[in-house]
């Protein structure tokens, strides 16, 4: 049969050819969009007799003639489009009229829902002056009889029937704009099905009879009392956002309204929604790795309590006998007991709040309720309406769970750039949905079961084994080439889907049935997490590998064929986090699916006339991983370089770790959390590297004590100010912070700690030149002071040198967000004093305003700085006597802490953030030096001795066998082993001292890439509106208000396998 699209084109071509004959012009075929401004969708299963069925009766596996229809609201035309979801076509309800016509409703359609048995659908009417509900009986979801232009209207044929118009469908008026709707079922009571909620209502008196005033036969009958689905009376629950309430309306009553009328809806019950929050005692529960003990600033606090708010019900989510309602007016998600719509009651709400911004009032616009997971859990996802960037919260609403706040997920320190209690996305989120899905496998002589989790235990009986009973879970084990069984592309389990306004659909892991098989083969039975994020495995199975005939039993050898994916991490699947798009495996066949170095780190010397030899230069090398138990064996370091796994002591791929024996450099990339890594990144580890981007407007000003907290100026001479710098946000460490670091991280104390703080606090490096020779400044009194421009060159040197004079360095004693208290860096002050002695302009009147600060005459060195740098200067901030790791993401643990009482203007001081989430946000590495003179040792070793008083971490590199003379974890100096979320290594001091600018560089690939489906693959211009999972199609139904209309996205491929409009 020729489809409508083909017919239209055919007709068009015929017509065009006619014109061509007459006018000799090329025909232009005009395509018509059938769906426009689509917003909401509901699915209706229609039987062969035109009546509705339960949705699960479609698709038509039994050839019973059922049809799955999608009703799509069209907001620009006030219509509801009818789409036959089984074939590529839409239903034109007025085929006599050119173009596509759909079911007209009285005004702009809002939400649309269908009764459980499919007998009718109900659409909210939101147009000005016509607020209400219209009912669409399933019997009329098509063109009226005799509407086919080939069958009517011609001589000898019946007249074409009237088209459906707004009077064809019953409707009623609401007092306020309807929002989301749901059809709930009032279960039968002891006396049978109740009609009305109120026994005294007119509805109740009509028990057993058709309701409504219209006694004549309807062209579009719909009787909800006999439809399929759960037994009981169908009630519409409708949100009225402007009134902050929901109302209950009998669905059959709406259907029975006289056609052409628009009388007030008979509201059986009104439930004003809660407009206050009792947040006392409400607090989020951080996981152990985010335990904020001892860290006052992030102690979880109760959400802010707005004194009251007007509830503004938004998105509905129905599940588990509860109706969850997002609220755009206040920080709660309403929870209604939906077991009896006539007795609709509000339960304790979920509390929308933010773990990291506890003072923010969080409102929600959409919610989704998950089906029960295989573990009997249920979750609610709620869209944080105003978070920037957009985010989605997850609530655990499992029966018996008492916490009503967003889940705070573990691994926060390893995923510090995402809030611990939110899934965060760049573009705003448009909708949320869940899909519970299984593809059960059949075994010989056994029925397929749903919800079976993949079984990795190699001792369990799998298909082909003899003499044992098959464990169904083994059927889901991965194939060695990842083409079947557990793998990222197989969505088997419970998943969340976040649809972004950009047209991307992000897949979220909730309960992946195959998660147990997504892991490394090596087990870790201890309670401590290893470098691959594994812990708590069954002690009887060291490896998830099959037996090797004649060599090893199941689980005994790492060389047996794996029963799991052998991905690099046990956190490949992590609940309520985006799903990985790739197998976390690195191999020459699958490619780089896990963090991998593109090559071993490279060293670049800076400013040395002769490049240092490998022994002379500093080294960055991998080190052992910590043992899982006290006294246990350290983990041998390993890292992928390309697709080759380098391991310590591995032949052909030996990972360099010895600063004496190894000329190559190395680092390791911890596999604990794959989401720590960007898909690709570049790293540079630089000695005394830049901490902040280069600034352009720094001003050296006198310290005004009145502007600072008490004692803040102690130790400094000047205030270096740049309001646009954001020093704390860039990670600047002052002396106090470095002292804190030395104490807590390196175990220093006493004078060693003081020395460490003074020699390692960051410093400002003034990189600017002096005013040009022809500048009239040099003719001024100040310009002629101190010996003129020549004195500046003597004091500070040229600005175009590779390595600037140290006299340009200013040690930071105290850091604030907009200013730094600085003084000369250790060891250089004396050099300036001689030159500064030439500054005499203030000798006569040292108390003059230009020569003093708060009445105190300026020092000569101050006058010299002012003389040479009379305006704002170009500068940078560098780390002192340490290495700085830079990558595309800023990694530091510095926070800007407001100083109490300083609000005009506010003043923020820099402080180390005690938030455990910053634990791995590290970028500073301290050299490990030798306790022996390696240069003169026999044989020589490759680690230098730090000058007296500057050593931070030391060890004896002559201890141990050649090839194994790197620092050991039990060495005292092991505290300087660097580890952050994307790298672990030690930096050894060279025989030669490190020089500012020396660097090691490396690149990584194979970082985390989220699984995303894209509407934009079908059309560039999309405006996603609504998403729902249609289990009958194993697809997501996506409504796009722009060019795609309605689309079905397969969960097998995450590609669009069908879409309307038809062009």
């Amino acid at each position: 049969m020729m489809g409508k699209r083909a017919a239209a084109r055919f007709t068009g071509l015929i017509a065009a050819s006619g014109f061509a004959l007459a006018c000799n012009e090329d025909a232009v075929e005009v395509t018509q969009l059938s769906l426009q401004s689509s917003t909401e969708v509901t699915f209706v299963c229609r039987g062969p007799d035109g009546t509705g069925l339960e949705q699960s009766d479609c698709p038509d596996f039994d050839l019973m003639g059922t049809t799955m229809l999608a009703l799509v609201t069209q907001t620009s035309t006030d219509e509801v489009a009818v789409v036959n979801a089984s074939i590529p076509g839409v239903i034109d309800v007025d085929p006599v009229t050119p173009g596509f016509s759909f079911l007209r409703v009285p005004s702009r359609p809002g939400d649309i829902v269908t009764s459980p048995g499919g007998a009718a659908s109900f659409v909210g009417l939101t147009g000005v002056g016509k607020l209400g509900i219209s009912a669409l009986p399933t019997t009329c979801l098509n063109a009226p009889p005799h509407q086919n232009p080939a069958d009517c209207g011609h001589p000898g044929q019946p007249a074409c029937a009237e088209i459906y118009d707004v009077t064809s469908f019953p409707a009623c008026r609401l007092p306020s704009r309807p929002g989301d709707m749901a059809v709930l079922v009032e279960p039968p009571g002891a006396g049978g099905t109740r009609t009305g909620c109120d026994p005294s209502s007119p509805l109740e008196s009509s028990v057993g009879k058709p309701l409504g005033a219209d006694e004549t036969a309807r062209a579009c009958p719909a009787d909800l009392t006999i439809e399929g689905g759960p037994e009981g009376r169908r009630k519409l629950v409708v949100a009225l956002p402007d009134r902050g309430e929901v109302v209950v309306i009998d669905a059959q009553w709406v259907l029975d309204q006289p056609l052409g009328t628009f009388d007030p809806c008979a509201i059986e019950m009104t439930l004003p929604l809660r407009s206050e929050i009792d947040a006392s005692g409400v607090a989020q529960e951080p996981p152990p790795d985010l335990d904020p003990a001892g860290c006052d600033p992030i102690e979880p606090i109760s959400p802010p309590e707005p004194p009251s708010f007007l509830a503004s019900p938004a998105g509905f989510g129905l599940g588990g006998g509860r109706l969850y309602i997002a609220d755009q007016g206040g920080p709660i998600v309403h929870v209604l007991d939906a077991s009896s719509p006539c007795g609709l009651t509000e339960l304790s709400p979920l509390v929308a709040m933010s773990f990291e911004e506890p003072s923010r009032v969080v409102t929600t616009s959409r919610v989704a309720v998950s089906p029960l997971s295989s573990r009997g859990e249920r979750f609610v996802y709620a869209l944080d309406e105003h978070d920037q960037p957009a985010s989605v919260m997850a609530f655990d609403v499992t029966e018996g769970t008492t916490n009503r706040t967003p889940i705070v997920r573990p691994q926060g320190p390893r995923v510090p750039f995402e809030p611990a209690d939110r899934m965060r996305f760049g573009p705003p989120a448009a909708d949320i949905a869940f899909a519970l899905r299984d593809l059960p496998r059949e075994a010989p002589d056994q029925l397929a079961e749903e919800g079976v989790r993949c079984e990795p235990d190699p001792t369990k009986c799998e298909l082909g084994d003899v003499g044992c009973e098959l464990d169904l879970g083994t059927l889901y084990r991965p194939a060695s080439n990842y083409t079947s069984g557990a793998r990222p592309g197989l969505l088997r389990g419970l998943f969340g889907f976040i649809m972004l306004t950009s047209g991307q659909i992000v897949v979220i892991d909730v309960d992946d049935f195959d998660a147990p098989c997504r892991r490394p083969t090596r087990a870790n039975s201890t309670e401590f997490e290893d470098s691959r994020g594994c812990f708590g495995d069954d002690v009887s199975v060291p490896y998830y590998t099959r037996a090797i005939e004649g060599e090893a039993g199941p689980g005994e050898s790492p060389d047996g064929s794996p029963t799991v994916t052998n991905e690099v991490s046990c956190n490949m699947v992590s609940p309520h986090r985006p799903r990985s798009d790739t197998v976390g495996v690195v191999s020459s066949t699958t490619g780089v699916g896990a963090p991998s170095l593109k090559s071993l780190p490279r060293f670049a010397s800076q400013g040395t006339p002769v490049p240092p030899t490998p022994l002379q230069r500093p080294k960055v090398l991998a080190v052992d991983g910590p043992p899982l138990e006290a006294g246990g064996t350290p983990e041998l370091p390993s890292v992928y370089v390309g697709t080759t796994l380098y391991e310590k002591d591995r032949s052909n791929a030996d990972l360099p770790t010895d600063p004496t024996a190894d000329e190559e450099m190395s680092v390791t990339l911890p596999f604990v959390e794959p989401r720590s890594y960007l898909p690709a990144d570049s790293f540079s580890l630089t000695y005394e590297g830049r901490v902040t981007p280069d600034g352009t407007g720094g001003f050296l000003a006198p310290i005004v004590a009145a502007e600072l907290p008490p004692g803040a100026g102690v130790g400094g001479i000047w205030s270096f100010e740049d309001g646009a710098a954001y020093f704390c946000s860039s990670g600047v460490y002052d002396m106090g912070m470095m002292r804190d670091y030395g104490d807590k991280e390196l175990g220093l104390s006493g004078s060693a700690l003081e020395d460490f703080a003074e020699t390692h606090a960051d410093y400002v490096q003034v990189t600017d030149g002096f005013p040009v020779l022809t500048d009239t400044y040099w003719l001024s009194e100040r310009g002629q002071d101190c010996g003129g421009r020549a004195a500046c060159f003597s004091a500070f040197g040229r600005s175009d040198l590779n390595d600037l004079e140290v006299s340009r360095d200013l040690m930071i004693t105290k850091a604030f967000q907009d200013r730094l208290i600085v003084g000369p860096r250790s060891g250089v002050a004396g050099d300036l004093k001689d030159i500064a002695a030439q500054c005499t302009r203030c000798d006569d009147d040292p108390a003059s305003p230009d020569c003093s600060t708060e009445g105190v005459p300026k020092e000569k060195t101050t006058l010299l700085w002012e003389h040479c740098f009379p305006g704002g200067v170009r500068y940078t901030v560098r780390a002192s006597n340490q290495w700085v790791l830079n990558s595309s993401r800023s990694m530091h643990d510095v926070t800007a802490s407001p100083i109490p009482g300083r609000t005009e203007p506010p003043l923020y001081e820099c402080a180390r953030d005690c938030n455990p989430k910053t634990r791995l946000l590290r970028s500073r590495a301290f050299e490990i030096s030798s306790t022996v003179d390696c240069e003169n040792a026999n044989p020589p070793c490759g680690v230098g001795v730090a000058p007296k008083g500057t050593a931070v971490c030391t060890y004896d590199p002559t201890v141990g066998e050649p090839g194994n003379q790197g620092i050991q974890l039990d060495d005292k100096g092991a505290r300087c082993i660097f580890e952050n979320m994307v790298g672990r290594f030690a930096v050894y001091r060279g025989i030669w001292s490190s020089i500012r600018g020396m660097s090691f560089t490396w690149q990584t690939s194979g970082g985390f890439s989220p699984m995303v489906g894209a509407l934009t693959a079908a059309s560039v211009a999309v405006l996603p509106q609504h998403m729902t999972y249609v289990p009958e199609f194993q697809s997501l139904a996506l409504v796009d208000a722009s060019s795609l209309g309605l689309s079905l996205m397969s969960l097998d491929t995450l590609t669009i396998n069908a879409n309307w409009p038809v062009r």
Partner: protein, 524 residues
């Protein structure tokens, strides 16, 4: 013919270069592209573009809104009448498809052309006050009232970018709605002195003239600064307006993204004069070919001798709320909430609007006023952008930085609202609610699909979609009287939209139309 035109140009003392064809008819709207109201909503100014060059010029008309509203009131009362006030039958439903409204469009005319007929059943009130000819291919129009700080003169001024000769036309408007632009006859053509951007020697020290294809136009509240986008040059032109001598072209802001179209001014926070912050007028510019909106600041360069004003782009906001983010057309900003708060501060401290915007007066009000107005000026601004593909209204809100209240109102876009196909402009204005109070709305015009969408930013939802006639191009709101005016480009007439919710039957519908509809020649 071309030579004759040039000679004619010379003889007429520097009028815009007229095209071929006859002069536009006095009363005829012809492809109207821009609407503007004066500050008291007593006159509506309509710019016609002569889009298909059937005439030798474009035109600007001034309509008497008092007279027009009187007619609208009668139509709302159920009457239909012709141009002479004679009763008419309501138009047929078939006709309403092209020309929405219960009655046939009412033709308009100049008072002197059509004197009132004493025998008319309904008094005949002419609505057309004045008309002048301008260059062809005008693209937009804005009206600014003369500020109190300006020298005495006519109360208002129109600024009109004209693509045909790449100039900015400017016309002074009298209190009676008459035009003053050097025209020598009535009606006539504006003279050359009322055209700016084409005289580098006289206008600026850089030897600059405005680039081709001007499109959008915006001016700050006092019309000190006028910004015009150049849609094919990736540039915008900066004019400094002198209320005595007219605007002068000062600077070409080049290096913008491709196809800048929409431009709107950011209202200067009243904290700026109160805190003594630098006066830096700011604008937002949107693009057809870039997924962002640029913040443009204007610097007067007062410290230089001679000062050479310039503009630059300190930052931009990405549009990530839909799949492409590009093809932005309309752009408007709602500062009403902030202004209300700022006025509240000023009233508390006894300042009127002129004093609040005058640095000396504002700073003399003291630190408490400064603190008050600083908080008020931190109220975010709503920004609306119409995106053509996908058809959407992108809604953003500014996040003013504490340390920089001067002009850092760059929006963050977080909401996308579905529009009908082919949105072009967006206008922020008020409707009258059922209690007779004004409520803020954004009105998005969709040219292709004949829709005017009313968006309620407070409730974050579309309130209504109005089906217009063919080719709605421009829209203006008269909030005081609860009316809107939509210019139909294709059929060259004006529709009147009821924006008063106290009229439940007619709210958000076109209730009347004015002007003699003229289908484009190609459709005849």
């Amino acid at each position: 013919m071309r030579l004759r035109s040039i000679l004619l140009l010379l003889l007429t003392g520097g009028c815009f270069p007229s095209g071929e064809g006859i002069a536009p008819r006095t009363t005829q709207l012809y492809f109207p592209v821009g609407l503007a109201l004066d500050e008291t909503a007593t006159h509506l100014f309509i710019v016609s573009s002569d889009f298909d060059l059937q005439f030798n010029a474009g035109s600007v008309q001034s309509w008497d809104l008092v007279a027009l509203r009187e007619k609208v009131d009668r139509i709302l009362d159920g009457e239909c009448f012709n141009a002479k006030g004679k009763p008419l039958e309501p138009q047929t439903s078939a006709s309403q498809v092209l020309y929405p409204g219960r009655c046939y469009p009412i033709r308009h005319y100049l008072a002197q052309d059509e004197p009132d007929d004493p025998n008319n059943a309904v008094p005949n009130i002419p609505i057309l006050v004045d008309t002048v000819e301008i260059g062809a291919f005008a693209t937009d129009v804005i009206h600014r009232a003369r500020p109190a700080s300006a020298p005495p003169g006519e109360p208002g001024r129109l600024f009109i970018p004209v693509r045909g000769d790449a100039t900015l036309h400017w016309i002074d408007v009298t209190a009676d709605g008459d035009f003053l632009c050097g025209q020598t006859s009535q009606p006539g053509a504006c003279d050359g002195t009322h055209r700016s951007g084409d005289d580098p020697a006289a206008e600026n020290t850089r030897g600059l003239r405005m680039l081709p294809e001007p499109y959008g136009v915006a001016a700050d509240e006092r019309a000190e600064v006028v910004m015009v986008t150049n849609q094919t040059a990736g540039a915008a032109g900066l004019f400094l307006n002198d209320w005595t001598t007219g605007p002068k072209y000062e600077f070409t802001l080049s290096g913008l993204a491709d196809r800048p179209i929409g431009v709107t001014s950011l209202p200067e926070p009243w904290a700026v004069p109160a805190l003594g912050l630098p006066h830096l007028p700011a604008f937002l510019i949107g693009y057809r070919n870039a997924a962002w909106v640029s913040l443009v600041r204007v610097y007067f360069d007062d410290g230089a001798d001679p000062p050479r004003p310039y503009a630059k782009v300190p930052s931009r906001a990405s549009v990530l709320t839909n799949s492409s983010g590009i093809d932005s057309r309309g752009l408007d900003v709602d500062a009403s909430v902030r202004r209300t708060e700022e006025r509240r501060c000023a009233q508390r401290f006894g300042l009127d609007e002129a004093q609040a915007t005058d640095p000396a007066s504002a700073q003399a009000a003291g630190p408490d006023y400064a603190e008050c107005v600083k908080t008020a000026s931190a109220v975010p601004l709503d920004t609306f952008v119409t995106n053509r593909s996908p058809a959407s209204l992108v809604v953003g809100q500014s996040r003013p930085a504490i340390a920089d209240v001067a002009s850092n109102d760059l929006p963050i876009f977080e909401t996308t609202v579905v529009l009908s196909r082919g949105p072009t402009r967006v206008v922020v204005g008020d409707v009258v609610n059922v209690d007779g109070e004004r409520e803020r709305r954004a009105f998005a015009v969709s040219f292709d699909s004949r829709r005017l969408t009313i968006y309620d930013p407070a409730r974050q939802r579309i309130e209504a979609e109005i089906t217009t006639g063919r080719g709605p191009q421009a829209f203006a709101v008269d909030p005081e009287h609860g009316l809107g005016y939509v210019a139909h480009f294709t059929d060259s007439y004006i529709g009147v939209v009821d924006l008063d919710q106290r009229h439940p039957d007619t709210y958000a519908t076109i209730v009347a139309s004015f002007g003699e509809p003229l289908p484009p020649r190609a459709s005849k």
